[in-house]
Symmetry: C2
Amino acid sequence: MATMTAAQRRDQARAEYDAFLKGCPTNQLLARISDKWVSLVVSALAERPMRYSDIGRKIAGVSPKMLTQTLRSLERDGIVSRTVTPSVPVRVDYELTPLGVNLSRLLMAVKDWAELHIEEVFEAREQYDASVS
Amino acid sequence: MATMTAAQRRDQARAEYDAFLKGCPTNQLLARISDKWVSLVVSALAERPMRYSDIGRKIAGVSPKMLTQTLRSLERDGIVSRTVTPSVPVRVDYELTPLGVNLSRLLMAVKDWAELHIEEVFEAREQYDASVS
């Protein structure tokens, strides 16, 4: 059997799955990865593997509860792997899986977009607010 | 003054803005665009300009309230433009601005990612659930 090209795999995935449809599992996966904390955690781990406390320091403003939930769902979805070293105290490291590295390229591009285009967004907001007041 | 290259603009934006910081306006912008409804609305409008009711039909499951809020915030941020034609009934069209077209390439890539990799995510979930039970 011939191996499918990337374009063929994409066409096939598009035929089978449609994130526009509420009942499609890709709709829930899109909701999961379209999330500020996912974006920041995946972007942080794209730099290097990190311990839990490193991630918490890198992402100011994330609560321990939200960080734990986000990491657990990323681990369950195969985007992040978790390694426990039975030292005293126990050491827990997180790193992106190959699937996570693949996703991180996209999410970092969205994060970069926000940083690159914030001033255009500021200008648009000023114009909008002036036009409605 | 020499025009900055794309790489120089990116470096400058990185020096001035950091979406990892809670107080940085890019952190709020990232939260805004890391949103399932934003992702779906922007991906829908990337196909063609649409009326309000077209968008509602394309994105099954979006409530009128959520769709109105999402479109208004995208309009305020300069990502979507809204054209009112004073016919009877009034006709309202939405389309991506050039800034919105630019963002849509990234958000469509995230949506495509969900459709392309859902089966790997399913496998990861099965393994995870088996390992913790």
